[in-house]
Point group: C2
Chain length 268, copies 2
């Protein structure tokens, strides 16, 4: 439900989501590569950015790559450290036939306690429904992603707009549907906003992938100025290069992104 | 590489894949609902069907719903019990932008040691590529699923055929791409086979979902008669209703499905 998201945006005066994609091979020098080292690293980044972010988005791929058991422990310890009142988004991109999707929704919303999740809608209504049945959680459906491969299927025959239209319909029951809309394709954002006027957009691709904040805001803002959250992962997590500078560097980067986003909103 | 799949089919004289979707709420009476109880249950089903199946397909949703840590332990203990020479398919339906997909592929193929996985191709080439880079593993891309929601996007503007065509191209590098093709839509199977003449199909939806084996074989077989594997999950796992009969019932059901599939191939 956008309520939790809107409350977090209002309280933190930030539309920045910090993505947690812990890759031991890219971690700053001096960060131990074992699960405890990763947990300490992520907790320090969270401490350094907690007043600057409306949401944190652990990318489950990076945790699972540590090993199923180690990844589960690392994720659990990381989640416990995220302050209440900040939205936690499981970047899981799950989706399956109905009764399997119900199990994924249970895993993310009940077992791990996430407030929101990314969902892959490819398999359609009965794949998405079990996530939306959690009326007090927010589900961001993949709509137009920021990667080159979006050309293959999402941009083929306007699939992304068909997803946006169906998502707007599915939103009517509980008002708890959002869309993942990549920052690298601003020209398409206006069409998605027209198809889904009130849905919040989770926007990845700012930072490392080069997306333009002002173009996204221009095309993607809604009437209430509530509908946009920008995710930055690597640009914050790997802003520093050593154990002695990465918390300061993460904080400085988060501040820069938060302010750049707010400047566009305030100046418009 | 279909090689491992073909070898398993030849050795077991079976095209049956047993799906492992452990739902404590549906388990036979007397099965303990804790992780150890689930492991014992799945191991006994595996023992009862090991000579009848060319593959086992754990559905990760059901393991994750046990809790991240408990699910990881349950999956690990289950996988250790699957005989070598039988294909293990991670029914994970993962897919993300390139470097995240690489993490999912590492989790499934390196950490958990699966021989194959189901992959959600929605995000396109760079989402699928990291899975296919594991040349000795088989990746089944979602193409046309067996659920009602397939109408929403996969059957919209022929997306499923576009996926089949791209999959056939991507198969050229290592010959390690397969497709998930639901048994409930036999009319579309001929078109998928025409678009992807040599790719193996993993066919869910036989059994509980009512798919017809003979129609699928008629439309989906390839020149070498190698390209079809049928998955049955609930029809085997929940064939029995109590702790005293579920292994016999699972074996009888598996035998019935294996024979029904072989009869169609042999009689054709």
């Amino acid at each position: 439900m956008p309520r939790l998201l809107n409350a977090a945006i209002a309280r933190t005066h930030s539309r920045l989501c910090v993505g947690l994609d812990p890759d031991p091979a890219r971690a700053p020098r001096g960060v131990a590569h074992d699960p405890q080292g990763i947990v300490d690293y992520l907790r320090r980044v969270i401490d350094a950015t907690a007043d600057l972010a409306c949401a944190y988005k652990p990318n489950l791929a990076f945790f699972e790559a540590l090993g199923a058991r180690e990844g589960a422990e690392t994720l659990e310890a990381t989640l416990r450290h995220i302050p209440t009142g900040v939205l936690t988004i499981a970047d899981a991109k799950r989706g399956d036939i109905g009764h399997s999707s119900a199990m994924y929704a249970r895993a993310l919303f009940e077992r791990s306690g996430f407030g929101a999740a990314t969902v892959n809608p490819l398999m359609g209504a009965d794949c998405v429904a079990p996530f939306l049945d959690y009326a007090d959680r927010l589900s961001f459906l993949l709509c137009l992603t920021s990667n080159p491969g979006a050309d293959d299927f999402l941009l083929h025959n306007g699939l992304y707009l068909q997803i946006a239209r169906r998502a707007a319909e599915w939103n009517r029951a509980h008002g708890n549907v959002g869309l993942v809309v990549g920052a690298t394709r601003p020209d398409s954002v206006a069409a998605i906003r027209a198809a889904a006027p009130t849905l919040p957009f989770l926007v990845p691709g700012v930072g490392t992938q080069g997306g333009e904040i002002d173009a996204i805001v221009r095309h993607g803002r809604d009437d209430q100025d509530e509908g946009l959250v920008f995710n930055v992962s690597r640009g914050i997590l790997y802003a520093g290069t050593s154990a002695s500078d990465y918390t300061d560097a993460a904080r400085a980067a988060a501040q820069r992104y938060r302010d750049a986003i707010n400047d566009v909103f305030d100046g418009a």
